[in-house]
């Protein structure tokens, strides 16, 4: 469990994080999203003990990252957005080095390194130089490194950045596996379609403030109820009138003729009544659908304040 407690971080006059409070349950996979400069990286750096908060705290399974960073780091595995690598080091040596840095005893290290390489499907590359690995392989190796000390919480900063589609699919598979193992995962990513596939929760930051934190299902459900697309054979002023009567706002679709966008926070019954009223008034409706919203749409609605 990760508890953000009124977390605030300022850089001079600039407030990078402003009173962030939320509790991420154990075993959740949380997507941390927001526009550039929203405070995602700052939040992650505080969580991983790399940066001190100006005020507030983050507790990882009850351990403060601010007052007890040494113990907190035992519970956190961190995968930064850029893969830090050393020259003249093989993949197995790379993992062995970080296992030493976590004081994993020698008799466990070689077995652990082999297991981690197997987990990320790099066993065949164990003696290859790290510098020669592809970006996807490096990301997987970095993920293996972050898992060496068996942390409860994984913090992944842009793990899919720069990966080809195949590598992204592989990474998603790995994250699903880690979720099944009960790890609490916090992922920052700009690839929202990937997050939609992986995450159980979403945490949306904008200008340093937490504008939404909910399960993915709830956020998507709320977004789904917003937009109804009505397509008609012939335009009619009745559409707008009936929509208003039923509590919806109505606008012609900006791109498609004979098409209307109806906005309103109503349930399925209200949608059925609206359709019934339109047809009853003789409007030639040939398509009536809730727009198939994506996570991108939910994100845009949240950050524009309409959700």
């Amino acid at each position: 469990m990760i508890q953000f407690q009124s977390l605030r971080r300022c850089f001079g006059d600039f407030v990078a994080l402003d009173s962030i409070s939320c509790t991420i349950p154990s075993g959740a996979t949380v997507g941390l999203i927001g526009p550039n400069g929203a405070g995602k990286t700052t939040a992650m750096r505080i969580l991983t003990t790399l940066l001190a908060p100006t005020s507030g705290d983050v507790l990882v399974n009850g351990v403060s990252v601010h007052t007890n960073p040494q113990e907190a780091t035992q519970r956190i595995g961190f995968m930064p957005d850029e893969f830090g690598k050393y020259e003249a080091m093989s993949a197995a040596e790379y993992l062995d080095f970080y296992a030493r840095c976590h004081y994993i005893p020698e008799h466990q290290r070689s077995v652990l390194v082999s297991e981690m390489l197997d987990l990320v499907d790099l066993a065949h590359k164990r003696d290859d130089a790290v510098m020669g690995l592809s970006r996807g392989m490096m990301q997987r190796l970095s993920l293996a490194r972050s898992l060496l000390h068996n942390p409860d919480v994984l913090v992944l900063d842009e793990p899919a950045s720069g990966l080809d589609p195949r590598a992204r699919i592989d990474l998603r598979g790995l994250l699903h596996e880690l979720h099944r193992q009960g790890k609490t995962i916090l992922i920052s990513s700009h690839i929202l379609s990937d997050l939609a596939d992986i995450c159980t929760h979403l945490m949306i930051l904008e200008r340093g403030r937490l504008v939404a934190f909910d399960t993915l299902d709830n956020l998507m459900h709320r977004a789904h109820q917003q937009r109804i697309i009505v397509k008609v054979l012939h335009d009619s002023p009745l559409i707008e009138t009936i929509a208003h009567q039923q509590g919806f706002t109505c606008q012609p679709h900006p791109e498609h003729p004979h098409c209307y966008v109806l906005l309103g926070n109503h349930d399925e019954h209200a949608h059925a009544q609206l359709l019934h009223a339109l047809i009853g008034a003789g409007v030639s409706v040939y398509d009536f659908s809730r727009e198939a919203h994506s996570l991108e749409h939910a994100f845009l609605q949240v950050t524009s304040g309409t959700l």
Binding site: T41, T73, E87, E106, R145, H149, F299
Partner: protein, 299 residues
């Protein structure tokens, strides 16, 4: 038995990393070339003069030894400084420093790992010059005491220069700036401190006119310069004042430890202070560069 004392992982990685690339061996070859070149020139020049007497042989041995040590000090001022200055700043540039900070390693282990790795390489350089030093024994004029004291002085200054490099490396984010600051500190120490000593002597001479005090101050400030310290130590041994020197303060003669002892003491104390400051610097939460300003872009 050794398993009870696990090797510092940073030290192990640094040594492996250093010795696996050809630069380490080119640098070693360059070092040997630097110290043996002038030595060979002096030896050849003296050989032309064909010294035959025991006294002349002894002088030749001392001259060669001095040239050898001076060249070694010159190299060992810059090599550990640059290597140490690149150590932590280099981790930041490679984006590996955050990974170390989020591991279980305390700041002390990181700093000492970097420090010992630099010292280990310098130990290799010192070991590599042993055959050349041994030659001076064959020629004569240098005893074991001189050799040991000279090595003590070199080692103390290598530790100091490494500490200076480590300190600036912990302070700055880029290797170039850390190396620049380290070299500026060391060159400043070598050139500016003796300059200050000279100016102080002039000022105090004119205002207080106490030769003994100015002499002592001058003496202490010169202890920061390894070249001066080595020459002074060799001279002290020659005049049989290896451990103590006599100075006159307020008309009384007082025996004080020799300059090389002050130098060793100063080096060790300054090194401890610098390493402590470096540990404090990276123990404090690492602050990244200014964060991105908010943009209107979507995620």
């Amino acid at each position: 038995m050794f398993k009870r004392f696990p090797i510092n992982p940073i030290l192990l990685r640094e040594i492996r990393g250093t010795m696996r690339v050809s630069q380490a061996f080119w640098l070693l070859a360059g070092f040997i070339g630097l110290i043996s070149g002038p030595t060979l020139l002096v030896y050849a020049s003296e050989f032309v003069n064909s010294p035959t007497g025991a006294g002349q042989q002894s002088d030749l041995g001392q001259t060669i030894f001095l040239i050898l040590v001076m060249a070694a000090i010159l190299a060992l001022i810059f090599i550990p400084t640059v290597k140490a200055a690149a150590s932590i700043a280099g981790e930041r540039e490679r984006k590996t420093f955050d990974l170390l900070l989020t591991s279980q390693l305390p700041a002390t282990t990181i700093i000492f790992g970097k420090m010992l790795a630099t010292l280990a390489y310098c130990a290799l350089l010192l070991f590599a010059m042993t055959p050349l030093v041994a030659m001076t024994f064959l020629i004569g004029g240098v005893d074991l005491g001189t050799l040991l004291i000279t090595y003590f002085i070199i080692v103390a200054h290598v530790v100091l220069h490494t500490s200076i490099g480590i300190y600036w490396s912990a302070r700055f984010a880029t290797t170039t700036v850390a190396i620049g600051a380290s070299l500026a500190s060391i060159i400043g120490g070598l050139l500016v401190v003796p300059g200050i000593a000279y100016v102080l002597v002039l000022l105090i001479d004119e205002t207080i006119a106490t030769d003994s005090l100015t002499g002592f101050l001058h003496f202490l400030l010169l202890a920061s310069n390894p070249f001066v310290v080595v020459v002074s130590a060799i001279e002290a041994i020659r005049v049989q004042q290896t451990w103590l020197v006599t100075v006159f303060i307020s008309g009384q003669s007082i025996a004080l430890p020799a300059l090389w002892i002050w130098s060793l003491l100063g080096c060790w104390l300054a090194s401890i202070a610098l390493l402590y400051a470096a540990i404090r610097t990276i123990r404090t939460h690492y602050t990244p560069t200014t964060p991105q300003k908010p943009t209107k872009e979507g995620a």
